[in-house]
Amino acid sequence: MAGALQWPLRQRPGRRISTALLLRPKLLLALLILPPLLWLGVVYLGAMLALLIQSFFSIDAFTGMIQRTFTLSTYAELLRPAHLDIILRTAAMAAAVTLASAVIAFPIAYYMARYATGRTKTIFYLAVMLPLWSSYLVRVYAWKLILAKEGIVTWLAGALGVGSWLDALLSVPVIGGAALSVSYVGTFTVFVYIWLPFMILPIQAALERIPQSLIEASADLGAPPHRTFRNVILPLAFPGVVAGSIFTFSLTLGDYIIPQIVGSSRLFLGQVVYLQQGTAGNIPLAAAFCVVPIVVMSIYLSIAKRFGAFDAL
C-alpha cells in the first residue's frame, strides 16, 4: 500500500481520469456495462434474432433455396402429423422424466434437509453437486456401457435369474427394443440420471426452509407423522419440486445428444432441429422447431410462477 501512495498527489498519472469518472457515476457505470452488453447483445441476441427472423422465411421445394419473403407457411409445416408427433413425443418424454426425477429426488433431498448433519451433509451436498459439474458426455457414455446388450444390466439380470423380466420389458411395444441401449426405456433412464441433481437441489432448498415449529405444531395438534408429511411438509416443498421441474423439463426438451447415443431411431425435437439445419439445409424449418421449446417453456414458466417456484430457486 505504502509504495503506491508515494506519488505526489497531483502528479499521479491517471488521477485526473479516475476523478473525472468518479464524479460521473453514470458514465462509469456505462463504461463498465458496455463491453459485456455489447458482447451479449451482438453475439448472442443478434444471432437469436437472426434465427427467429429466418423462421418466417420458407424454403423453395424445387430449388432448395431459402426464400426471403415473410410467410407463416413454415410454422404451418410444424402441424403436419409427422412433425406434431415429434413434438408430442418429446413433450411426453420430458413429462415422464420430470415425474421420475421428482420421485427419485425427493427422498435424497428430504434426507439432506432434515436428517443429514455436519460431515454427512457436506458429503451429500458434494455428491449431488459433483455430477452437475462433471463431464456430461462421459456420464452419458457410462450408460452406453451399462445398457449395452452384453453389458452389466443384462449380466446382472442373468445372475439374479430375472433375465426373462428384462426380455418382457424389452418386448413391450413402443418403449422396448432390441436392447436397452436402443429403446425408449434406455433414453428415459439416461435423461433421469443426467438431470437428477437439478431436481434434488431446489427441493432440498425448499425443505430446508420449513420451520421446525410448524412440524412440532402439527404434531402437538395430534397429527401422526404421515399426516404432517402430507398436509404440512409436502405442500410447502411443492414449489421446490416445480422449480426443479423447470430444469428437467426444459433440458429434456432441448437435448439432442442423449437420444442420439442411447435411443431408438424415432427422433426427438432436438435431433430434428439438428438434422434440418445440417443435412437438410432447411434453416427456416429448424428455426421454427426452435421456437417450440421457447413457447412451451414460456407457458410452463408462467404456470410455475403461480406455484411460487421462483421463490424456491
Partner: protein, 273 residues
C-alpha cells in the same frame, strides 16, 4: 443444527432411498474406470474378460487425441479469459446499482445457460453463415465465452455485494485514486471469487459439446472427438481411457473450487448454477 432436536435418526426406508439415489448418481462413473482396464476391445462385455494397462499406453501415443486436447485447452483458456473480463465488468456494474433495464441485463447474462444449448448453437451457426464468417477456433471461442460469462458474473457479483462500500470510501479518503483503489482494494478482495468463477467457466468450456458441434467446422475438441466415438464406436478401449482422463481433469478443479469457496465464505456460493 435445527433438526437435530432429540437426536432422531432417519427411518430406514428413507435412508435406503437416499443412499440408493446417490449410488445411482455415482456408480456409473466407477464402471467407466473399470472398463478402461478391460482387455475386451470390440464390445462392452461385462464382466471384463481380463484386465490390462495396455490401452493407456496406446491412447498416449495417439496424435488425434493430443490435437483435440490441445484445441480444447486453447479454447477453454481463451473463453475463460474473455468471460473473466466481461463477467467482472458486468458484476462491478450490477452489484450495488439500480438503473433502468437492470433486470433485463441480468436476464440477458443468464439466458445463454438458461435456454437449451441447441438454440445458442444453431443461432450462432446461422449467424456465422449469414455473415460469411468461416468456422475456426475463434468461432468456437465466441460461442463458449458467451455462456461462460454467467459463471464468472455469478461468483464475482456475490463477492461485490458482500464487500462494504466503506472500504472503497476509506481508500479514497486516504488519498488513493480510482485506479489505486482498484489495484490495492477491489482486486485483492474479488480475487478468489474471480478464480472460482474462472475455474467453473474453464470446466464448462472444456466439457461443452452441444454449442461446439454447431460452431466448430472441421476441427475437433476433446468432447467432439468423444461424441463421434459415442455415436459410432470404432475404438472403444481408447474412448474408455479418454473418458477416465476427462473425469480426472474435471473433478480436480471442481473439488478445488468447492474447497476454496467454502474456505473463503463459509458456505458454498460458487457451486450453484
Amino acid at each position: 443444527m435445527r433438526y437435530e432436536v432429540g437426536g432422531r435418526s432417519a427411518p430406514r426406508t428413507l435412508t435406503a432411498a437416499a443412499v440408493g439415489g446417490l449410488l445411482f448418481l455415482h456408480l456409473p462413473l466407477a464402471l467407466i474406470l473399470l472398463y478402461a482396464f478391460s482387455t475386451e476391445d470390440s464390445s462392452y462385455q461385462f464382466p471384463p474378460p481380463g484386465l490390462t494397462l495396455r490401452w493407456f499406453g496406446v491412447a498416449w501415443g495417439r496424435q488425434d487425441i493430443w490435437d483435440a486436447l490441445g484445441l480444447s485447452l486453447r479454447v477453454a483458456a481463451c473463453s475463460t479469459s474473455i468471460a473473466m473480463l466481461l463477467g467482472s465488468l458486468a458484476a462491478a456494474a450490477m452489484a450495488k446499482t439500480r438503473f433502468f433495464g437492470r433486470e433485463s441485463i441480468s436476464l440477458l447474462i443468464i439466458l445463454p445457460i438458461a435456454l437449451p444449448g441447441i438454440l445458442t448453437g444453431i443461432s450462432l451457426r446461422s449467424a456465422f453463415n449469414l455473415a460469411e464468417i468461416p468456422f475456426s477456433t475463434a468461432t468456437i471461442v465466441l460461442g463458449h465465452a458467451t455462456f461462460c460469462v454467467v459463471m464468472v458474473y455469478n461468483n464475482v457479483v456475490a463477492r461485490f455485494r458482500r464487500m462494504p462500500s466503506s472500504w472503497i470510501e476509506a481508500s479514497m479518503d486516504l488519498g488513493a485514486d480510482g485506479f489505486q483503489t482498484l489495484r490495492y482494494v477491489i482486486l485483492p478482495n474479488i480475487a478468489s471469487a474471480l478464480l472460482v468463477g474462472g475455474m467453473l467457466a474453464f470446466a464448462l468450456s472444456f466439457d461443452e459439446v452441444i454449442v461446439t458441434t454447431f460452431t466448430a467446422g472441421q476441427q475437433s475438441t476433446l468432447p467432439i472427438w468423444m461424441l463421434t466415438e459415442l455415436v459410432r464406436p470404432h475404438q472403444r478401449p481408447i474412448t474408455n481411457v479418454v473418458a477416465v482422463f476427462v473425469i480426472a481433469v474435471t473433478f480436480a478443479p471442481l473439488v478445488f473450487a468447492q474447497l476454496l469457496t467454502r474456505r473463503a465464505e463459509g458456505a458454498g456460493e460458487g457451486g450453484v448454477r
